[in-house]
Structure formats: structure tokens, C-alpha cells
């Protein structure tokens, strides 16, 4: 398996393809460590609740049915996200798995962000939901 350079990551937010407006993405999941250490032993942990966090950087676009129009009504709601390392690879496979998060919650959106002379960006952080990895 070769290293991968991210050039063509597929990103859909609420069923909307926004890959060509993004330049950074991070999909993270973690399972909380719950301590069950008892007297007489070393520290011991078991898995607790899972949390998923997805951060997507988008270049803002106020055109119809584009970035801002898509994101604005999602704040305070849950939706579905999909991510794949190589969008053009087609169907999911072991070397190009698709990660789907249903019930991902978006708490906030910054429609206008950036300095003078910079590209207007918006950074989205989705949390929670259920993560499924698809390889076929």
C-alpha cells in the first residue's frame, strides 16, 4: 500500500458535494476511556462512549445552492456526512474506504471569516453521530 497524497478527497455534507470548495478536512473518532481501576491493581480502562469529530475548511461561496446556502440552515441540526480519500476512485474499496457519519451535529457556522486580501473561509466542526466505514 502506497502513501497517499490528498488531492481529490470527496466531501459531501447533507448530500451536497462540496469537495471543490474545501482545502482541508479531518475525520476523527474516539472512544472515551472509562477508568475501572480497583484497589490492588494498576490503572485500568475500558471503552466508553464514542464521539466523532469532523472538521472541514471551506472556501466561502455565497452563490445560489453553494457553500453558505448549504451550511446556513444546518446550524443546530443533525445531518449526514460522507468522506472518501479519492473521490474519483468510484465505489468504496479497502484502499479507498468511505466514512459516513449520520446524525452529525453542527453547532456553529462563521459565514464571514478572514483578513484583508485573504480568501474568505468558513471552518465547520461536526460532532457526534454514528460512524460507518464502507469498503465495498
Amino acid at each position: 500500500m502506497a502513501q497517499i497524497v490528498l488531492k481529490d478527497v470527496g466531501i459531501t455534507i447533507n448530500g451536497t458535494e462540496l469537495s471543490d470548495r474545501s482545502n482541508s478536512v479531518e475525520v476523527n473518532y474516539e472512544i472515551e476511556s472509562v477508568e475501572v481501576t480497583a484497589f490492588g491493581g494498576n490503572r485500568s480502562f475500558v471503552g466508553g462512549l464514542q464521539n466523532n469529530t469532523c472538521t472541514v475548511e471551506l472556501m466561502q461561496d455565497f452563490a445560489a445552492a453553494n457553500v453558505e446556502a448549504t451550511i446556513f440552515p444546518l446550524v443546530g441540526t443533525q445531518t449526514t456526512l460522507t468522506f472518501e480519500p479519492v473521490k474519483s476512485a468510484g465505489a468504496p474499496s479497502t484502499t479507498n474506504p468511505t466514512y459516513t457519519i449520520t446524525g452529525a451535529y453542527l453547532a456553529s457556522h462563521t459565514p464571514i471569516s478572514g483578513g484583508v486580501g485573504e480568501v474568505g473561509m468558513t471552518s465547520l466542526t461536526f460532532t457526534g453521530g454514528t460512524l460507518v466505514k464502507t469498503v465495498a
Partner: protein, 55 residues
């Protein structure tokens, strides 16, 4: 089941001009998709109901 027409080429679950039903949109925030201009609800055609009348 509600049917929606795809209005946007950014919508990944159906081609522009086609229709999708609410089952295919499971997990999506449909209200947000409509508000964003990606989908429009297709009005159901009302069926004409003819009642038999006693003559």
C-alpha cells in the same frame, strides 16, 4: 412519501432535474436542502374522486 425535484448540480444523491423521494434522503436534513435551493418539493397531483350518486 414525499418527492423532491433536484435543482442543484451539487446535490450528490440525484441528478439535476430528476426526482428523489424522502426514503432516499434518509439521514439528510431535507428542510435545509430545500432552503438551500438543492431540492424542491413536488406537489402531489390530486386525484379526482367521483362519487356515485343515486339517480
Amino acid at each position: 412519501m414525499t418527492t423532491y425535484k433536484v435543482l442543484s448540480d451539487r446535490f450528490a444523491l440525484g441528478e439535476i432535474g430528476k426526482t428523489v423521494d424522502s426514503d432516499a434522503l434518509a439521514g439528510c436534513n431535507i428542510a435545509a436542502l430545500v432552503e438551500a435551493g438543492h431540492l424542491a418539493e413536488v406537489s402531489a397531483k390530486s386525484k379526482s374522486v367521483t362519487s356515485e350518486q343515486d339517480k
